[in-house]
């Protein structure tokens, strides 16, 4: 009855579950995309990949499906562009056919091989093994089994009896398993009795051999057993202890990690895992305030005394507590700058500024290093300008302004590493004064005009015209920009730039911006001819 039930259900369910379903466009796109390999993140499919290329490819798939192409046609299109590589599963053609059939060949072949081998092994069973055994020994076997469960022999036991003892252990184990299998209902009574009898006979024969070898070894099986079990027992207790210790340690570590990593949310923007697990700490770190303060003041004092080593030690400690402490970074930067490590100093100032972009000391230090040690006047100017906007009027502000003016009057030196110096061009950067930037409405035409220093009036030597400039703009003026071909592009020139609204170089309408190079005239071949558009035509 139940057998019919089984058959009925299976035959109904199997075909019922094999029908296909209809899908919508998004799902179709996703299915095709899941079969294509993303050329950017090559481990993912186009469906899973977050890259821009994958997004573009998905859009193309969608468009082609809308045009009415079939999924196969879409796939063929991609194969024609990227090759077979783009399919995540090789199409079953040509050599790639192997990859589809070999696994099943291997499985089928393996199963057949096992079937035939098992048959061979079963057939090779020698019939008519002696079922003779001393009944007393058979009785002994039964008694042994009833008395004790564990007959295991240590794997490295040596000696003439070793293999016999192992054989005995194996047969006893077999008998115990037979018992269990009977109880579990896996064996019929007949099979059980037959197998049991056979194993008992074999065990009895082993006992006979053992008896004939060294009688003493069998007389006191209990002692031998306990002697063997004490050694594995004591070793086992070590294993047990080691496991327990490991689990304890593991549990404790896990507990610490979890309790540190999960905390209740204090605000909607918080996340429960906080900073411990992900290594990102919230912007305001809670440190032991006392310690930090004392360390910082220690550092400051040491710096004032010029005790550099002490100062460094103190600030390093501060940084180990709070790795983004702007003051500590700024001081480190100053110390490094004083020692001549300008690159390291700049990095330290960057770190201070990344935490607090308006940190005055870092801005000042940064500016000074750039100016004095790097000669990067434009960078220095940037930093100092920002500083000026932050400082209230006072002696500090005045000193910064003085430095500023000093920088502007300086002759430009070519310290910053530049590319090849081409002696027949002028290179530089053009930027807009920040205040005027807001007034600019975008677009416009930028003219870079070079006039000979020696002559007045007349057409300019060279003009460069750039449409819709984006600032800061790097420019390069060369002989191709000359107004009159044939003249030579060399000597001293005055450089002016104009951001014109209407594009007509002859008119000067209000709203256009002008900038003069502050160090006119320049030699052709100069680098770093940096100009700021800082005048507006009224």
């Amino acid at each position: 009855m139940t057998r019919w039930f089984i058959l009925l259900i299976s035959f109904w369910l199997i075909p019922a579950s094999l029908h296909a379903e209809s899908v919508d466009l998004q799902e179709q796109v996703r299915r095709i995309a899941a079969e294509l390999r993303c050329p950017v993140c090559q481990a993912l499919s186009v469906a899973d990949s977050p890259s821009e290329m994958a997004q573009q490819m998905r859009a193309i798939i969608q468009q082609q499906l809308k045009e009415g192409k079939s999924p196969d046609e879409v796939k063929t299109y991609f194969i024609s562009k990227y090759g077979e590589w783009v399919m995540l599963a090789p199409t079953a053609k040509g050599f790639s056919l192997l990859i589809w059939i070999l696994p099943f060949v291997a499985l089928g072949g393996g199963i057949l091989f096992v079937v035939f081998t098992v048959r061979r092994w079963v057939k090779s069973k020698p019939e008519g093994r002696s079922m003779e055994a001393d009944p007393a020994l058979v009785q002994r076997v039964k008694q042994d089994l009833a008395r004790r469960e564990d007959w295991e022999v240590a794997p490295d036991l040596e000696g003439p009896q070793a293999s016999l003892l192992r054989e005995r252990a194996r047969l006893y184990r077999e008998l115990q398993e037979l018992e269990l299998d009977l109880q579990a209902g896996k064996l019929s009574e007949a099979d059980y009795h037959e197998s049991r009898q056979r194993s008992e006979v074999q065990a009895a024969n082993v006992l006979k051999e053992l008896g004939s070898m060294v009688p003493a070894a069998i007389i006191n099986p209990v002692k031998e057993g306990t002697a063997k079990s004490s050694q594995p027992g004591s070793r086992r207790s070590w294993v047990f202890a080691a496991t327990a210790a490991f689990l304890l340690l593991f549990g404790v570590t896990l507990g610490i990690l979890l309790s540190n990593s999960l905390r209740p949310r204090t605000s909607p923007e918080d996340s429960i895992t906080g900073d411990f697990l992900t290594g990102t700490s919230p912007e305001v770190t809670v440190t032991q305030g006392g310690d930090l303060e004392s360390l910082i003041s220690q550092g400051r004092d040491a710096y004032a005394r010029q005790d550099w080593a002490q100062a460094i030690a103190a600030f390093k400690k501060v940084l180990s507590i709070n790795s983004s402490h702007p003051e500590a970074h700024a001081y480190m930067g100053l110390i490094l700058a004083g020692a001549g490590h300008s690159d390291a100093a700049l990095m330290a100032f960057d770190r201070a500024l990344s935490t607090d972009p308006n940190y005055a000391m870092a801005l000042w230090g940064n500016g000074m290093v750039l100016y004095r040690q790097k000669g990067d006047l434009s960078g220095a100017r940037q930093k100092l300008q920002k500083l000026l906007t932050l400082l209230p009027p006072g002696p500090e502000r005045e000193s910064v302004q003085k430095t500023f003016v000093e920088m502007s009057n300086q002759k430009e030196t070519q310290l910053a590493g530049q590319a090849t110096v081409m002696s027949d061009r002028i290179h530089g950067t053009i930027s807009i004064e920040p205040i005027l930037k807001t007034k600019r409405q975008g677009g416009g035409i930028l003219f870079i005009i070079a006039r000979r220093a020696t002559t007045q009036g007349g057409p300019p030597l060279a003009v460069k015209r750039i449409a819709s400039p984006v600032f800061p703009l790097s420019y390069s003026l060369g002989k191709e920009n000359m107004m009159i071909p044939g003249s030579r592009f060399e000597g001293k020139v005055n450089i002016i730039v104009r951001l014109d609204k209407d594009g007509d170089p002859l008119t000067r309408e209000p709203g256009s911006l002008i900038g003069n190079y502050h160090n006119n005239p320049v030699e052709i071949g100069s680098q770093n001819v940096n100009i700021i558009l800082n005048e507006e035509i009224k």
Binding site: S51, M53, K81, Y82, G83, W85, S474
Partner: protein, 188 residues
């Protein structure tokens, strides 16, 4: 000594090792292009100055098609060379065409201005042209002959000798046997 068994074992193992050693000779990220020797896919490109360019209109000229982006260092490294080559080749029925992909228009224009590029450039906003050409790294350059067939593809930045040589080959419609490689950046 079971010689036969030993020989079979050794042979099988050496075959496997040989296959794995072969792996060292190729770059697994590299995607071979099936387009070489085939007709170049047609497209219509809107240039930055507003004009439209159709590839089929350039039939009869050799086309140097370069895919680039402003954030890609190898593109920047080759930009000046490309411009210089353009200057020297532009009267020889050769057209240089640049296609900007995965980029923003202001950045692209700034890039053009920075290197003073004068050959026509346009932007492939949807990425359709890039996929049409099987682009996977930038810069990628395709050399198309006068019949509209792709004769050579180079992934990575190009130098003067390669450009000149391949342009001449394209003029004579010689299809290259293999693709070229330089230092490249995977696209985004």
């Amino acid at each position: 000594m079971p010689w036969r068994r030993l020989t079979v074992t050794v042979l099988a193992i050496m075959l496997l090792i040989g296959l794995l050693a072969y792996g060292f000779t190729r770059d697994p990220r590299y995607i071979d292009s099936p387009l070489i020797g085939r007709p170049a896919p047609l497209f219509t490109l809107t240039l930055f100055d507003g004009k439209n360019v159709r590839l089929q209109d350039l039939r009869g000229k050799v086309v140097f098609l370069n895919f680039w982006a402003s954030w890609c260092p190898p593109c920047r490294a080759e930009a000046k060379d490309l411009e210089a080559n353009w200057q020297s080749f532009k009267d020889q029925d050769i057209v240089f065409l640049g296609i900007n992909i995965q980029d923003k228009e202001p950045n692209a224009i700034e890039y053009i201005n920075e290197f003073g590029i004068t050959f026509p450039n346009g932007r492939d906003a949807t990425g359709r042209i890039a996929v049409d050409y099987g682009v996977w790294g930038i810069p990628e350059t395709f050399f198309i002959d006068t019949e509209g067939r792709i004769t050579y593809k180079h992934v990575g930045s190009l130098g003067w000798p390669t450009i000149t040589a391949k342009l001449h080959e394209a003029q004579r419609s010689l299809v290259s046997a293999s693709e070229g490689r330089g230092s490249y950046q995977p696209i985004r």
